[in-house]
């Protein structure tokens, strides 16, 4: 890459012999073997925040009770059929292309172990921590997965976006980057900055990695590294413009794809906007469009690597079976999980259908979960990274019951 990367790197190596104690903990300065990569498969976990309504996405139009329970949310587009029983949301045309290509599947009637309280905050914590209801929220299950993998590097697992993702936090060293961080410095300033950090390996190593990561984005956008503005207001607005360019989910997906083409094997980001209490037709469509864009961007930019990729889109809970008075739905229990990618055994709905009769519902209001959503995550890590049942039961999902068997959706 461009030459300004080399300087902090060199200074970091020079200082590597005199690490202070505060540095010993820094993953950035822990030597890793460059050749090692944990296999070829890629896993992207998208956390859908707000409670994605699985029944709206994958519509059980074959159930005779469905239309009556959801007068405004049950139409089916004949152009987007899934199975004899299910139809896809009418605006999910891009997802349907994936379905047709055999690169999309769903798990129906899934949920985390979280029951009854239906708080977003707790529900998302439990989803990302991967624990049972009432379990300690300390670290995330993707991080614990990384802990079981041999030969991981800092960039093996990557959290993308502004928020700190619980799902990837924990003891294993992972990367995090928000593509709207731009490091708006002239070449001269970069050199000065590197010199200022020269005696401090912690800062020096972080700057080197930051410059590498910003260059992933700069390379496509700025023809000339010296072509940076010379006024702080311009810097700010320039940074904002670049930020804007990359802030959207498309920017996040695009950056994720670029990193997956390199050394990253596991990535995660989130998409909000699923809390559709009101006017769901409109609001769900908006969130769905973002999700479709993200998945399509990943596919387009991953190129041949898409064939090795699995995207899991998971949410904290499903929504009520009946639509409410404001043409929306409220917090529920059973929902759906989305599996997309070239590595997925697609064109299939996994899991058992519990039925919509009142006595079949959870608390007489929600779709009854028939599978723990963690079984789908477990199936992905088993199929993609050869996680063993004992690693899954002992480390990644300590209280998960594997006896129902793992859905075999990895091709």
């Amino acid at each position: 890459m461009t030459k300004h990367n080399t300087l902090p790197r060199r200074s970091f190596l020079k200082n590597a012999g005199v690490l202070g104690c505060s540095l010993a903990a820094s993953p950035l300065v822990t030597p890793v073997s460059l050749a090692a990569t944990p296999g070829d498969h890629r896993l992207v976990v998208i956390v859908l925040r707000g409670g994605m309504d699985g029944l709206d996405l994958v519509r059980p139009v074959g159930d005779p009770l469905f239309a009556g329970l959801r007068p405004n949310l049950s139409s089916a587009d004949p152009k987007l059929p899934l199975t004899d029983f299910h139809a896809l949301h009418p605006a999910a045309d891009k997802l349907h292309d994936l379905w047709t290509a055999g690169e999309l599947a769903f798990g129906q009637a899934v949920s985390t172990p979280y029951r009854n309280k239906r708080s977003h905050f707790d529900g998302q914590d439990i989803l990302e921590a991967g624990v049972g209801a009432g379990g300690a929220i300390r670290d995330g299950w993707l991080n614990r997965l990384v802990q079981t993998m041999p030969d991981t590097q800092l960039r093996t697992a990557l959290a993308v976006g502004r928020e700190d993702l619980l799902i990837l936090s924990g003891g294993a060293a992972t990367s995090g980057w928000s593509p709207d961080v731009t490091l708006p410095l002239s070449e001269a300033s970069r050199l000065l900055m590197a010199r200022v950090y020269d005696g401090d390996p912690l800062f020096s190593a972080a700057l080197g990695e930051a410059m590498d990561l910003t260059d992933v984005l700069r390379s496509g956008l700025q023809p000339n590294a010296d072509d940076v503005p010379d006024d702080p207001d311009d810097i700010m607005s320039d940074a904002m413009m670049m930020a804007k360019e990359h802030r959207g989910t498309r920017g996040i997906a695009s950056f994720t794809a670029e990193m997956l083409r390199q050394d990253t094997r596991i990535a995660s980001f989130s998409i909000g906007g699923w809390d559709t209490h009101v006017a769901q037709t409109l609001n769900f469509k908006r969130a769905l469009s973002t999700l479709q864009d993200a998945i399509i961007t990943l596919k387009a930019e991953l190129g041949p690597i898409w064939a090795k990729t699995t995207v899991l889109a998971m949410t904290e809970f499903g929504r009520t079976v009946r639509q409410n008075g404001s043409k929306g739905t409220d917090h529920g229990t059973g929902g759906a999980v989305i599996m997309a990618g070239g590595a997925v055994r697609g064109r299939k709905i996994y899991g058992d259908w519990p039925g919509l009769a009142e006595e079949d519902l959870y608390n007489r209001r929600d779709l009854m979960p028939t599978a723990d959503i963690r079984l789908y995550a477990a199936a992905a890590m088993r199929g993609l990274f050869h996680a063993t049942p004992s690693e899954i039961e002992n480390t990644v999902f300590p209280d998960l019951d594997l006896s129902p068997g793992l859905p075999s959706f990895i091709a």
Binding site: S22, P27, W177, V196, Y197, F203, A206, L213, P232
Partner: protein, 461 residues
Amino acid sequence: MSFDPRIAQNRFGYGPGPGIEPPRSVRQMLDRLAGPDTQATRFPISGFVDVFGDLQEIRDLTTAFRKARNKGGDEVETTKAARKEKYREMNRKRDAWFLAAIARCCTAEDALRERLVRFWTDHFTVVGKGALFKSVASTFPEDVVRPHVTGRFADMLRASTTHPVMLHYLDQFASAGEGSKLAMNGKRSLNENLAREILELHTLGVDGSYTQTDVRAFANLLAGFAPGKEGRATYRPNWGNPGPEVVLGKSYGRQKPRVEDVFEALEDIARHPDTARHIAHKFATHFVSDDPDPDLVNALTTSFTDSDGDLMALYSTLLNHPAAWAPQQMKIKQPFDYIASALRALGVSVDTLASLKRKDRNLLFFGPLKLMGQPWESPGGPDGWPEDAAHWITPQGLAARIQWAVSAPSSFDVKLPDPRGFVQTALAGQASEATQFAARAAETRWEAIGIILSSPEFQRR
């Protein structure tokens, strides 16, 4: 190693600022602490009792909105709009409280107090769950920490345990004693959350000598607290557990649940030797080093025990210990402290802060804090913000700091200082040669200021 004003203002304060005298002695620092809390008066932030009416209003508006929604008609829109406007008002308050919190740090003579408030607020971490409680999380340090920051640990523990935001955050309001009628009828059940975190995080520490049995018994003892009317905690004996409960080897209460028994247990837990060691270690870790000097930790432990948790004694022990004055800067400023100390160094006026529009507040504070890894009032869990340097100086965390340092200072109504002077004043004469060189060599003033504020000497303390 002993008192040094340059170390004092940075390690135990918010650094130098134009017109602010550095502390002259340990005695002076402690005397100021023992004096009145002038910053709280100068930049007021509401307590929970003051905003309880607002919360009640939002609840009522929500009820009205739900009713209207089920009924249909014009009222759906009007009630919805009214609720939205009320939330806007709460957000404006929350922003104002943020600015007050940062102004206190930027302008304080008694800056150690502000640092201590941040430390204890993080020790007793709360996160406002849901929009309603999120909007009033700032009341917690006002009610729990500031009144007791120079008092007794046990009093702060009691205030924390019974604060409505804490009772809500750790689900205490929903917990019924296992032997209560409510639990026997299957209507409610015991929730161990707060009991566990008090033992694991607030007092004995995760390595402390308690067992799951103690957690359970303590949870049964705590059952009954809930946020009550007028914004004060209430104790509901019918939710309590028919005792006695044995917690850490001592029996509390009798058949009839009583609030006095809970308070007695809290006093004893605050006084436990494991609590002393846990607090001592955490305190030294926060202020001095991620890997603190064992002799310092021992001295703090002894001080905590001998003074029965008198916090002034704890502070005095720290400031009179040679390890506190080691010249090497071992700690990284957390993002809030980083921004506050930069504003202080630049001399940004309180009026300028107050006049910022919402968009600028997001651009200059809330957005950058999030990118730096410390979104305002939103730590990831009840264990609060991490201490270790490597957690904060990540590629993204550092890039966000640099981005802020080069762009934000020009956005306040201050004339950017001459970098050659600023490198001396902002770093209190501790600038490295490379930083001094960069301050002279940078092409523009704002880049030079950005580099100075990005230097390790400025980000460490």
